[in-house]
Symmetry: C2
């Protein structure tokens, strides 16, 4: 069924009002008629089944005939800090990482970013990126649309109070795939911190609670601090500079290898996000079970 | 350093001869001169350091000053059987899966493939796909170029002697991400068959040999049959039909979930390939160590 995100204020007394581009999409592209059904998401995780009542040039209205909570959002909220790449790569990154399950994307200005976005151009680009995130969220059945931030200097992200606080209180995890790293991989960087994830449970996947092989090495304090947020730092085409890597290390970021093959900037993001969500138990049977609408 | 694949016959008595498009790339795009260095790969895993000697319109020659064995190829050879998608998606799939580490891509005609490729158009498309695989292999530092097969009916892949034999002798593994599957994920489908991979070793990553938690349930026969080849079956935009899923099940393919979010056809391939290579220990520190040229 076609899916549309709306502002919660567009739903009142069981009636949904859709205007703007979505109207065009419903009437001209999908050629829907009164009586047809659509799915409407309010961006808070609630999903409505809606029967179209009226269609005009400016507005489509519909009647809510059912609602349910979607559970397709990962518990681990991952922010992708993406060194600003060239051309249309950013669009591909936003689309794919939204499907895979990113919570937020912050395009970052780095020493080797060659693209300069300023003024009106930056605003138009941001608007386009946000539209791509909405479309990918609708298509992939997400309950929320990942936030796309404005282009920010890398140092500003690392120095932000939000980043500092999460790293300080143990609820944050920060990873930077870097080709200069060859002694730490994702598993070592996590070092048991996601042990409660099903991926570390018994082989049969049935074991309850934190029963990893390495649990003898993990303190209770670590269990109680299972990360809730993670940052992935991905360099632009030319990678991060030595100075940037140093700055990241100082801020508590773990550099990791993603194996012996050299990945393009956009590919490194897909791969690291996939592995992080997998190790956090967000791509397995238990996550799929939860994803069923209730 | 710029990297070029050549036919082993182009290297003789320590002299490399490069002709065709690569000549143009060396002279006009990279503007290299005699004395500059390039890396030449012979497609068997051998990598040569070469100093350019002469440059003409038709040919570039160079002197081999060093050679080494690259170990960037995964031990697990994964074939991606990709339901033929629309437009330029196939090119994206070939580029990204080559970087991640696929061994071979077989574009498959399925019930819901809407693209028809025939005659000259099919030949030109295949030529273009193979060129993309070469470029991505050069860029990502692979020692081999993944093979790209001709478009083949899905049934022909499932009924091939190669597929049958690998599934029979226990050296093959076949997975099909499918949105109708919600009780088997990648971990359950592997069911300890990749236990020797570092991903299942002790938490500290130091444990030698097969020491997974579930090893009590794994017979010696299973250890001795660690899969060497794997097939990933990915549906086109509309997915596989019920009949195709049934046919795959009958041939020994495991359907799996990739979590609660709906992935586009190209995204499903990246994600499944990434997870399979990760669980096989091909994206971690040990693999990176081996990847260093020796």
């Amino acid at each position: 069924m076609p899916r549309f995100f709306v502002d919660p204020r567009q739903i009142e007394d069981g009636v949904v009002r859709i205007a703007g581009e979505d109207t065009n999409h419903i009437t001209r592209v999908l050629r829907l008629r009164p009586g047809d059904r659509i799915t409407v998401l309010d961006g808070t995780g609630l999903e409505y089944e809606v029967v179209i009542s009226t269609i005009s040039e400016e507005e489509v209205t519909g009647r809510v005939v059912g609602s349910r909570q979607r559970r397709t959002e990962p518990r681990l909220k991952v922010t992708l800090v993406q060194g600003l790449p060239k051309a249309d790569k950013m669009e591909l990154i936003i689309q794919k990482c939204t499907e895979i399950g990113v919570a937020r994307i912050l395009p970052a200005r780095t020493e080797r970013s060659v693209v300069e976005l300023e003024g009106g151009k930056a605003a138009r680009r941001l608007e386009r990126w946000r539209k791509i995130a909405v479309q990918a969220a609708e298509q992939s059945g997400r309950a929320l649309v990942p936030a796309i931030g404005e282009v920010t200097p890398l140092a500003a992200v690392l120095n932000s109070a939000e980043f500092h606080d999460a790293m300080e209180n143990g609820l944050g995890l920060a990873l930077m795939p870097w080709e200069g790293e060859d002694s730490v991989d994702l598993r070592r960087a996590l070092a048991g911190r996601l042990l409660q994830a099903p991926s570390m449970m018994g082989q049969d996947g049935q074991g309850g609670g934190p029963v990893g092989q390495g649990d003898r090495d993990v303190t209770l304090a670590q269990y109680s601090r299972r990360p809730e947020v993670a940052w992935l730092f991905i360099g632009p085409e030319g990678g991060f500079s030595a100075r940037e890597v140093e700055m990241a290390h100082a801020a508590g970021v773990n550099t990791i290898t993603l194996g012996p093959r050299i990945l393009r900037t956009e590919t490194a993001g897909f791969v690291a996000l996939t592995l992080l969500l997998w190790e956090a138990g967000e791509l397995d049977v238990d996550a799929s079970e939860k994803g069923k609408s209730t």
